[in-house]
């Protein structure tokens, strides 16, 4: 690959992967809101 194509690809994919990873990580690690919330999977929890 030529240098400009390689840089363009790595920078773009780096940005996209970083944002995707960061936001999904935040979703997984953010503390759940108390019940009643929008989701049924934890309805038995207080």
């Amino acid at each position: 690959m030529n240098t400009s194509a390689l840089i363009m690809m790595l920078v773009t994919e780096g940005i996209v992967i970083a944002f995707t990873g960061y936001f999904f990580y935040r979703v997984l690690t953010t503390k759940k809101h108390g019940e009643p919330d929008s989701f049924t999977e934890n309805d038995d929890q207080e």
């Binding site: 363009m8 690809m9 995707t20 929008s38 989701f39 049924t40």
Partner: protein, 511 residues
Amino acid sequence: MANTEAWGSRVGLILAMAGNAVGLGNFLRFPVQAIQNGGGAFIIPYLVCFLLMGLPLLFVEWSSGRFGGSKGHHSTPFIFDAMDRKKFWKYIGVFGIFTNVAVAAYYCYLESWTLSWVWNSITGTFSGQSQAEVATYFGNYVSLENPDHTFNAMPIVFWVICLLLNTWILSRGLSGGVEKAAKIGMPLLLIFGAFLAYKAITIKAGSEGASFDGVAGLNFLWTPDYSSIWSSKVWLAAAGQVFFTLSLGMGSIQCYASYIKKKDDIALNAMSAGWMNEFVEVVLGSAILIPIAVGYLGIDRVVEMTASGGLGLGFMTMPYLFDQWGAVMAVIAGVFWFGLLFFAGITSSLAMGTPVMGFLQDEYGWKRKPAAWAFGGIVLLLGLPTVLFFNEGVFDEYDYWAGTVSLVVFALFEIILFAWVFGMDKGWKEITSGSDIKVPNVFKFIIKYITPVILAFVFVKSLPGIWEKIMNKESMIKLKFTCTLKKFPDKLLKSMLSCQMFRRILFTVKG
């Protein structure tokens, strides 16, 4: 009867939203748009449009959906009505029902091709065929003909299977159907995509019949032509791609979000689902179709073949190229490629059914199952012309009016409603209420001023095309209608026969 649907989990909601956005266009449209509009430089207007139009519209659609849901509404006519009592907005909201039904009418047919091509890959239909033979097979398939010009019922059978599958999943409800499908479909899509991307970029010239390295395709796609970013055509293409890839302007995001409670987050969810779609599009979408095609066909041939889009390359050429990888790998790659497209398709078509069901459940008190079957029935009726008269251009007409014009018109009005009628201050409260992230204040300004201007630009620039389409249509319609009338009884009879045949197959399997 109150609509008691709910999401099972937050991850399930995000996967369903991402699945709604991820469609066939991520793999077939994006890479072709990139190579036609400046290669790597295309990503500059693309990401700018994503930030200035895509993300703001995601915030708007998620928050107006949650706002409508808090008032007991799950479809855009009544969500918009809750935002402003003027009847005009309710009628604009009808686009959010109409578009979903009309797009599903042709999209489910496209989805059924992927299912059929999975089957063909398993049964070895394309084994040993030349590229021209695969293309002829596709031509015969959409013409509902066998090579000996007898009637081919297979497209109708796969289409009906696809509709039944969609309807069945929808009838299982939001958490039991749509969410489960997304939880299965999205991870599989990522695995299939990663495998194919690896195969594509490791193609070596001289090995397995390849003429060039797969990396040559990546190089071709990512080499930036910076002069292109001064072209309004390129910006329009980028805005269009962002718009379609995020499934904006359809009413399906509002519907999914309407099942979120007021105190729960939407900002982080919207960002997560939006960026997940970008990952599939930019990282996986750029690494499969073009590298494989360039590896075997060379740049010039790929440019020529993608002049009218990526659909032909995806369905008519890929099976032939996979066949060069040997018998076993051809089956695996075929199943993975068309399976990936199928999962991308079905997670989107399910999102098209949900607003229609929400509308029937909320406003007419229908139960979930009859609502799902009503959607399936409407799509069957409206989709029949796209199946029977594909070659007469019915599919393209649906795609243009429902899948292109209607979305832009709807999105333009919804941003005006949100930012200027409902009011930006109230709107901003809706976006940030319960948020798990700090939404930058600059988005308040972007949503109020920048996004409407971009949408107006996209709409105004598309007006000449709409006008041309209307003006050219008269003669085209006459010609097509005459052909259609002549063929209609014949095709209808054949499709009825194939339905009978389909029922017989089902009974045989059941019995």
